[in-house]
């Protein structure tokens, strides 16, 4: 049986009585870029955070490149396994979550040095390469507190990329930014798209999703209501709920 690069099979997640994800399945091919849109509280973050097991599923399976991420193992073995898997899954958060006590350089090199046992010299070369990639090389010895939001997010992307992940997850990476800082982060993400990084992007920016993504998922109340290429989901949605959401969103953006 051939497998997709990323497979989410019958993902289910409950918090007590509250069912947040209801039997969600999703395949993403290598190099594909998928956007997840939907109203607040629909389960987008929960789904994204289930992929690297930050919020473990209560049912279903996550597969990456032929390996099950959330496989059942005894606790100790599972910890080893999941730490290994997470090295292959980069994640970018709405609020950046840079390490404030470390310089930009140290933010980028900390995990590779610790987990891949690379030398200081290799780590420095890696930091310079990744920071150059996101246009932040000049701030390599700054502390996060000395950066703008857009700069912080670009460093956070470089930090994730330094682990050479197979998959990148973005959870509303530009939502906390002042409008004038959104574009610099979007540009970096577009660059990754051109380099065929596999990405799953939770976003509320429909224009951005339409311009970079191969596929769009519309989620509402824990289910995927509609999915397809951006032209179809944005221009000719088949579902009433999608139409409503897009209409409200357009009005809100005005």
């Amino acid at each position: 049986m051939s497998q997709a690069f990323v497979e989410i099979r019958h993902a289910q997640k409950s918090y007590g009585q509250l069912e947040v994800l209801k039997d969600i399945s999703l395949n993403v091919d290598r190099g594909q870029i998928v956007a997840i849109i939907g109203p607040s509280g629909s389960g987008k973050s929960t789904l994204l955070r289930a992929i690297n097991d930050l919020d473990p599923l209560t049912g279903g399976e996550i597969w990456l490149d032929g390996v099950q991420v959330n496989k059942a193992l005894p606790h100790r073995q599972y910890e080893k396994h999941i730490n290994q898997m997470r090295q292959e899954i980069g994640m970018v958060f709405q609020h950046f979550n840079l390490f404030p006590h470390l310089t930009v350089r140290e933010n980028v090199t900390m995990a590779p040095k610790l987990l891949k046992k690379i030398s200081d010299k290799e780590a420095n070369a890696l930091a310079e390469e990744q920071l150059d990639h996101v246009g932040m090389l000049e701030r390599i010895d700054y502390y996060p507190a000395q950066l703008s939001g857009g700069q912080k997010q670009r460093v956070a992307i470089a930090r994730a990329l330094a682990m050479k992940p197979k998959l990148m997850l973005f959870d509303e990476a530009t939502s906390a930014l002042d409008p004038e800082l959104v574009e610099e982060v979007n540009l970096v993400m577009k660059k990754l798209a051109q380099e065929h990084m596999t990405m799953i992007i939770v976003t509320h920016e429909m224009d951005f999703a339409a311009s970079v993504c191969d596929r769009v998922l519309f989620m509402d109340q824990g289910v995927v209501v509609e999915e397809g290429p951006p032209e179809q989901v944005f221009k000719n949605p088949t579902q009433e709920r999608t139409r409503n959401f897009l209409r409200k969103h357009l009005e809100g953006a005005k």
Partner: protein, 218 residues
Amino acid sequence: MGLDFSVLPPFYGTLALGVLWTIAITAASAVLSFFGGILLAVIALYAPMAIRLPFRFVAWLFMGTPLLLQLFLIYFGLVQIGIDLPAFVAGVIGLGFHFAVYNSELIQTAMIAVDKGQMEAARTLGLSRRQALIKVVVPQAVRDVIPPIGNNMIALLKDSALVSVIGVSELTLSAQRAIGQTYRAFEFYAAAAVLYYIINLGMEAVLRWFENRNRLYR
């Protein structure tokens, strides 16, 4: 009999040695109380109940009983069960653990206050929980409580005088020995007080240096 500070010079050597021992025991206890405080905080927040409860009990003992009594117990009491510690070591253990408990309270509060996104970001990169604690959570928590930990260290310096009772030749005991020979209590106690104050100023300078080093992170 009036005051006569000319009795001091013959004992400069004694007092200087006392200053050195006071600095030594304070520094050693401060280091123990700092790292012990971190360890106790991590245990209190993350260890399983079976480990956490006995530690909490011991912490409660250290906080709820006089330090003087603890020093007596460690130095004179432990001998009876075959643990014969040198006075200096007993003093460092007593002072170090006593203040480790106080430091751990501060560090625990600061660790809880570190944004949850920090642990998440570290785990997302593939760090284990232990690695994330050591590299991300603890360093931030400690930086946040350097000023109050500094206050504890000043208190530690002053309480180090207590180890004179188990025979560590630190500043207070040195002064007492000089008084024993000269019967000049005021002169030598005053000299000791001045010397404590000077050590105190030195410690405050060191603490300010640590605090300034951390300015940039905020």
